[in-house]
């Protein structure tokens, strides 16, 4: 057995020609791209986020306008740099100028840029967002508050290279790590990953090296490597972004992993809604095969590895390893008891390494720069960087990559620009449906895989939703519980029925039908579901409830005993009211804004709301001019009678 292993090892051992092979590929790529240094290049972010903001129209406008004027320039589609609030983003590199990035570009600005910058020579600094390289004219992204914290280990090329052209990746030393790995004994490569203490970025933070080692040592000739691109957390999009913006980095990481464990086949499990990601990945795989970087005898070595895409129906629970593998086998995506771990018995019962998209992305840089380089960033137990998706009540939502150990406060206030519109911060929901809601006092905890557990939350896959004073914490808990109880596979008792009961209790509470006694039931259920469930979906589902009970108990009590929603957010406990003192008789925008004609003019000329008709759509509150701000919300409902009594 051991001898066999050794022989196999020798079989896939390094051949010196890999280096030459790679050097040829790279110099051809560099030569092919030399043109980009000679003509202006217009990079347009056309990842899903850019497209949603209208990037394709901007791209076509640039092309048309350049053609019309006969300007020689390259229009290049790139992925996303993570500044979601600024899409569509365009980067213009014109010889003689620093590369300049423009935000929120529309057709008009595109034409403007062609006319003034590309045709003449005015870079329109007034529309620029940042320069890419340090220069004497314009600040760079590093000068942004977020630039101080950002440290890009894996997102560095996203938004700069054309994900559909392998040469762009090659020219930036792409696949160099693979070349280096193939010339090193596979166990040594694995040891480097272990030394780096690379922990899985899919949520649980399990050490990748240990997992690989387990699969490597597991008996059997056939082994698999699978990339988990299911990404089912509501609102999460980091993995999609990487798949769309830099697919080759993922491929390279997977090949190196396969080399370490001795796998000959691999799969990229991507949800089918991610059409753009699937499309770009398909093209990337094709190009990698053409160049001899994937398939038989990679880079001329004895190592062969085939990689294909598995498009999945995309259920949240299918992101769980055992369920993922079952769904690939054509069965229902239902989790199974572990052990056995996938590394011992996974896809088709064979040893299988399953890692997250981001986890694979860290592999090439670690191999290239060494474990030390990786460990020098982050915290001792969670080295490296973390990718977060900032969303919710935050000025600059988007993707950021920061060292592990950055605090929530730095992320929210400095990187994300804080809570907008002068509202008060209330809580941050971190880790998606398996995470928790943390209050102000938790903001100074340095975030890594383990640090938030004590506070009842977890880093999870890196979703961060900022909540302000207008968010009702009971509703937030209910939102996540609704998600988990819908997404539960239904196999085990605690998760199927327990989360359902929890959801019903929360629903009662936000409708003003809750009782204090139910809170004890809620807490007991939450605790038992955490221990009793089969898989991590159920085991983590109660976290949003447990943390809101812990930090925002007052809100629960207000809903139950006073029938009051402190955030004025639960429609059943809130009414809209037009403050007669503030209402201007001369204005009637609210009347026009109401979709159900619930607002009428009183005999005295002031406006009022017919509560029977009001559907609580919030339109009038938004429509009332800030000078008056006459539309207000009241909770509990009984306040309305008080007001009406007083003002009549």
């Amino acid at each position: 057995m051991r001898r066999e292993n050794r022989e196999r090892e020798a079989g896939v051992m390094a051949v010196p020609s890999a280096e030459k092979f790679y050097a040829m590929l790279r110099s051809a790529a560099v030569a092919g791209l030399r043109i980009l240094d000679e003509v202006p290049v217009i990079r347009i972010g056309t990842a899903t986020c850019g497209i949603a903001a209208g990037a394709l129209l901007v791209r076509d406008t640039f092309r048309d306008e350049l053609n019309k004027r006969g300007i020689e320039a390259r229009v290049m589609e790139v992925g996303c740099m993570g500044h979601c609030y600024a899409e569509p983003m365009v980067i213009i590199t014109k010889p003689g100028f620093p590369s300049l990035c423009y935000n929120n570009v529309d057709e008009e600005l595109a034409i403007h840029l062609v006319d003034d910058f590309l045709a003449r020579g005015d870079p329109c600094y007034e529309f620029a967002m940042a320069a890419l390289e340090p220069n004497d004219f314009f600040p760079t992204f590093q000068d942004f508050p977020r630039g101080i914290y950002e440290e890009k280990m894996i997102l560095g090329d996203c938004g700069l290279i054309d994900p559909q052209e392998i040469d762009h990746f090659l020219a930036r030393d792409g696949y160099l790590a693979l070349c280096k790995a193939l010339q090193t004994e596979s166990n040594q490569v694995l040891q480097e990953i272990k030394k780096a203490n690379l922990r899985g970025r899919g949520g649980a933070g399990f050490p990748a090296g240990e997992k690989w080692d387990m699969a490597r040592k597991a008996p059997g000739e056939i082994k698999f490597v699978i990339c988990n691109g299911d990404e089912g957390d509501p609102g999460a999009f980091m993995d999609r972004n990487i798949l769309e913006s830099n697919p080759h980095l993922v491929i390279e990481g997977m090949i190196i992993c396969a080399y370490c464990v001795g796998a000959s086949r691999g799969f990229l499990y991507i949800r089918s809604e991610y059409r753009q990601a699937v499309c770009r990945m398909e093209r990337a795989l094709e190009q990698a095969r053409e160049k001899g970087l994937l398939g038989e005898r990679i880079l001329g070595s004895n190592f062969s590895f085939n990689l294909e895409i598995f498009t999945a129906a995309g259920a949240f629970v299918c992101g769980e390893g055992t369920a993922l593998v079952k769904s690939m086998e054509g069965k229902m995506g239902i989790p199974e008891h572990r052990p056995p771990e996938l590394a011992e018995s996974g896809y088709l019962g064979k040893p299988t390494v399953l890692n997250n998209v981001k986890t694979f992305c860290y592999v090439p840089p670690i191999i290239l720069r060494g474990a030390r380089w990786f460990r020098d960033v982050g915290t001792p137990e969670s080295p490296g960087t973390a990718v977060f998706a900032l969303a919710g009540k935050i000025s600059a939502p988007g993707l950021v990559e920061v060292p592990m150990g950055t605090t929530l406060r730095q992320l929210i206030d400095d990187v994300g620009g804080g809570v907008p519109h002068g509202k008060r911060f209330k809580a941050v929901q971190i880790g998606g449906p398996s995470g928790g809601c943390l209050p102000e006092q938790a903001l100074d905890i340095p975030i890594d895989f383990d640090s938030l557990l004590g506070a009842g939350a977890m880093m999870g896959s890196g979703g961060i939703i900022v909540l302000d004073e207008d968010d009702c914490m009971v509703r937030i808990a209910r939102f996540f519980l609704n998600f988990t109880q819908e997404e539960s596979c239904g196999k085990c008792t605690f998760c199927r029925l327990g989360t359902r009961h929890m959801f019903r209790i929360l629903d009662d509470i936000i409708r003003g039908k809750g009782e204090m006694g139910q809170l004890e039931t809620l807490r007991r259920l939450a605790e038992d579901i955490k221990i009793g469930s089969l898989c991590n979906l159920g085991k983590t589902a109660p976290n949003p409830v447990l943390t809101t009970l812990r930090y925002f108990f007052d809100e629960y009590r207000a809903h139950i005993s006073e029938k009051r929603c402190p955030a004025l957010s639960c429609p059943e406990l809130t009414v809209y009211f037009i403050e007669p003192k503030r209402c201007s008789k001369l204005c009637n925008v609210c009347i026009g804004s109401c979709p159900v004609e619930a607002i009428f003019t009183r005999d005295d000329g002031l406006k009022a709301i017919d509560q029977e008709k009001c559907v609580k759509c919030d339109n009038c509150l938004k429509a009332c001019p800030p000078d008056y701000s006459a539309v207000i919300k009241l909770s509990p409902l009984s306040l309305l009678d008080e007001r009406l009594g007083k003002n009549k």
Partner: protein, 223 residues
């Protein structure tokens, strides 16, 4: 492979084959552990009902006995406050989704939910959980038996015997979360499915969800 090992369950020393699943070792020695979904000899037990929790020395939290292979020197406790609490919650959750009507149920007296209640001293009266809306549809299409999903606890025993023992494949699981159910392909009546009415599923159903028509004539001891 099958070395004999000695383990201790609730203070009793028991010897059995190494690697055997704890649940069956305990049951064979007359030590009761609540369970609904486990089937003897299954390679990978579903571990779905979450009733067979026990505590094992050296392990942090309660573990399911159906998935736990025994090894030399293992010390097991079937009744601890943590175990009892989990079992009680799981049981009450199952009852909240089970149309309770024992008087009119053919399984009254033999129902495994009743066994659990008796063994662990759990009655339906203290249940603080609001019953979930019961499934009202009943499939009476087979000639010899009835399927009443409102009583089903989703243990999956019927599905297992249908697929693995009878080899028919008339029934399976469908739906996610609270909508998970035992059904036929395309949700047709059993009579319109490949079901051969071998009756194996009825025999393994732990509750009154699958029962033979004319039970009084077929089964002894029913009240």
């Amino acid at each position: 492979m099958s070395k004999k090992v000695t383990i201790t369950i609730d203070g009793r020393r028991i010897s059995a084959h190494e690697g055997e699943k704890l649940l069956w070792v305990a049951l064979d020695s007359g030590i009761y552990i609540p369970h609904l979904c486990a089937i003897r000899g299954q390679d990978r037990p579903p571990a779905g009902c979450r009733l067979c929790f026990v505590e094992v020395g050296g392990r942090l939290g309660p573990v399911t006995a159906c998935t736990e292979p025994i090894r030399e020197g293992m010390v097991v406790r079937t009744r601890t406050p943590r175990v009892d609490r989990l079992v009680e919650t799981a049981f009450r959750l199952l009852l909240s989704d089970h149309r309770l009507d024992c008087k009119n149920c053919t399984k009254n007296g033999r129902c495994e939910l009743q066994v659990i209640a008796r063994e662990r001293g759990l009655g339906p009266d203290r249940d603080p959980l609001q019953p979930l809306p019961a499934k009202t549809y009943i499939d009476e299409s087979p000639r010899t038996f009835v399927f009443d999903p409102g009583r089903c606890v989703l243990c999956g025993r019927c599905v297992w015997v249908d697929q693995q023992v009878a080899g028919v494949g008339a029934i399976g699981f469908s739906g996610r979360g609270i909508r998970r159910r035992v059904t036929t392909f395309g949700d047709s009546n059993l009579a319109e499915s490949p079901c051969t009415e071998c009756g194996l599923c009825v025999e393994v159903c732990p509750v009154g969800a699958l029962f033979f028509k004319l039970p009084a004539k077929k089964t002894k001891g029913d009240s």
